[in-house]
């Protein structure tokens, strides 16, 4: 026990760890591709959404903004006519 070379152990952890991380992600990538293929085959979307929306909390504020815009537009049309 006293003679364990901890640095060698750390390198072994690195081999195991990076191996598992890459294994996990490679399988994940294949599953993503597979599900994309299956989904787009069996549930083709007529008006698909763009994926290019930023990572962020689309929380209340945004919803309110949307609601506000809808309401404002409606208001506008009323006033025009």
């Amino acid at each position: 026990m006293a003679e364990v070379n901890y640095i060698a152990e750390a390198f072994k952890f690195m081999v195991l760890g990076m191996g598992v991380v890459f294994l996990f992600l490679i399988v994940l990538v294949q599953l993503i591709k597979l599900q994309a293929k299956l989904i787009n085959k069996y549930f083709p979307e007529t008006t698909p959404k763009s994926s290019v929306t930023p990572v962020s909390s689309t929380s209340d504020d945004e919803q309110r903004t949307v609601a506000a815009i809808i309401a404002a537009v409606a208001e506008f049309r009323k006033n025009k006519s």
């Binding site: 152990e9 952890f13 598992v20 992600l25 994940l28 990538v29 993503i32 989904i39 979307e45 994926s51």
Partner: protein, 445 residues
């Protein structure tokens, strides 16, 4: 109106008097027989005003700081079994140094905008934890109560992760899945710094706890530190959040050193459209995979997947909004204060903390470099061009690192927007770190 109110008060008093007079004797007898067990009141001895003032002086913070042999003990949320008499340095100059460090953190959070949402509560918790005599980090103090409520059992970091899951859009990753591998390469930051930490003399378990700073992900760091090296939690959390805040300073030089101008100017195409069912199934796929390969990572990935699934299901928006707003805010306040309690001088001012700070810097640098190099390799073999800069986003530090990539990229070629392409490795880095954390946990199980 006033007369009426006074009348009501009188009425109230009358009702009370009449009932009290009935109740008194009986209740008193009960009360007294009981009071022996209740709060023990010390017999009170008369003191002159100057005696009172003298004993008051001994309860001032000034006195406590200049009198180091007053038998004060350290505080620990676990209670007396983990407490010990304070050293002279810890109870005097040590506190002062910690308060100066706290002020530095305030400065960084407020004036520099470095991750203030967590650095500021952590720093304030550190300030409170270093108050002499108040024992706010003890089991009956506010910080100790918070610590036992949600940090000792890892509940708060998981709730934060749930909220982050509910805020995350996996669209960019799903559109270009192979960029997930960049989020894997950046985990060299974790395992590289593990080697470094062992070289500095940390034992393997502590080194593993420290190395997770390289994951650049706050809740994961706190979760692992709490499991593997709870005494170092404060330093690890502070290092993790500090360096995440420093990402715009640390990353660009490394990114530029490892890439050519031509590589940095590479443009990437428009991402394909992602079906909403793909987004819906994705958190379940990730969770199932981690169940099969790595159950140790499922608390983290499970909480994250629940938040994301709640959002993408679109049928429980009021719950997913709560996860993203009031719940994560409340937990952030508590998590910050609770983690800050580990900035007490007796816990933080040890040589390990310096080592942790150094290793943290290595971890971020190695992770960035590994991500960029991996992206260069992928660019060689890929049909579609891959700008190597996006590899740097693999360290996570969502979404800061992706923004840094976009900024550096547009410096070379104005109008080259890499943000969405960088988000793929960025969120993959979160998953990669959780997997790496699971591996480390499984080793020390």
């Amino acid at each position: 109106m006033k007369i009426r109110q006074i009348f009501i008060s009188l009425l109230f008093a009358l009702v009370a008097v009449s009932s009290f007079s009935m109740a008194t004797e009986e209740a008193q007898s009960h009360h007294e027989s009981n009071s022996e067990q209740s709060v023990e009141k010390k017999p009170y001895e008369s003191k002159s005003v100057s005696q009172l003032a003298g004993s008051f002086l001994e309860t001032t913070g000034l006195y406590a700081i200049f009198n180091t042999d007053d038998g004060e003990t350290t505080s620990d949320p676990a209670g007396a079994s983990k407490e010990r008499p304070m050293g002279a340095f810890e109870s005097s100059l040590g506190r002062v140094i910690m308060i100066l460090i706290v002020f530095l953190l305030f400065y960084l959070a407020i004036a520099k905008g470095f991750e203030p949402l967590l650095l500021l509560p952590i720093a304030f918790g550190g300030l409170l934890a270093n108050i002499p005599l108040a024992h706010m980090a003890g089991p009956e103090g506010m910080l100790g109560v918070i610590y036992n409520m949600g940090i000792a059992n890892e509940f708060f970091p998981l709730l934060i992760f749930m909220g982050v899951g509910a805020m995350t859009d996996f669209g960019p990753l799903l559109a270009n899945p192979k960029t997930a591998l960049l989020g894997g390469a950046a985990q060299f930051g974790i395992f590289g710094s593990l080697v470094g930490a062992v070289m500095l003399g940390f034992d393997l378990q502590s080194a593993s706890a420290i190395s997770i700073i390289g994951g650049a992900d706050g809740p994961t760091s706190i979760f692992i530190a709490n499991r593997l090296a709870p005494d170092m939690l404060g330093a690890i959390a502070v290092a993790a959040y500090s360096y995440m805040a420093l990402v715009p300073v640390i990353q660009p030089p490394i990114m530029r050193a490892l890439t050519t101008k031509e590589e940095r100017r590479i443009q990437m195409g428009v991402q394909r459209k992602v079906h909403k069912l793909e987004k819906l199934f994705f958190p379940i796929v990730v969770l199932m995979l981690s169940i099969l390969i790595l159950p140790e990572s499922t608390p983290l990935i499970g909480a994250f997947a629940f938040g994301n699934f709640a959002k993408e299901s679109a049928v429980i928006d009021r719950l997913s909004d709560t996860m993203q707003n009031s719940l994560i805010n409340i937990v952030t306040i508590f998590l910050g204060l609770g983690v800050g309690s580990k900035l007490a001088a007796d816990k933080f001012l040890v040589l390990e903390s310096l080592g942790i700070m150094i290793i943290g810097l290595i971890a971020f640098s190695v992770g960035t470099a590994a991500g960029v190099l991996m992206a260069k390799v992928m660019n060689k073999f890929s049909k579609e061009p891959i700008n190597p800069l996006i590899g740097a986003a693999g360290v996570s530090a969502v979404p800061m690192a992706a923004r840094v990539v976009s900024k550096v990229g547009s410096e070379e070629r104005p109008g080259n927007v890499l943000l969405m392409h960088a988000m793929g490795p960025n969120v993959a880095g979160v998953i990669g770190s959780a997997v790496a954390a699971g591996v480390l946990l499984s080793i020390f199980k």
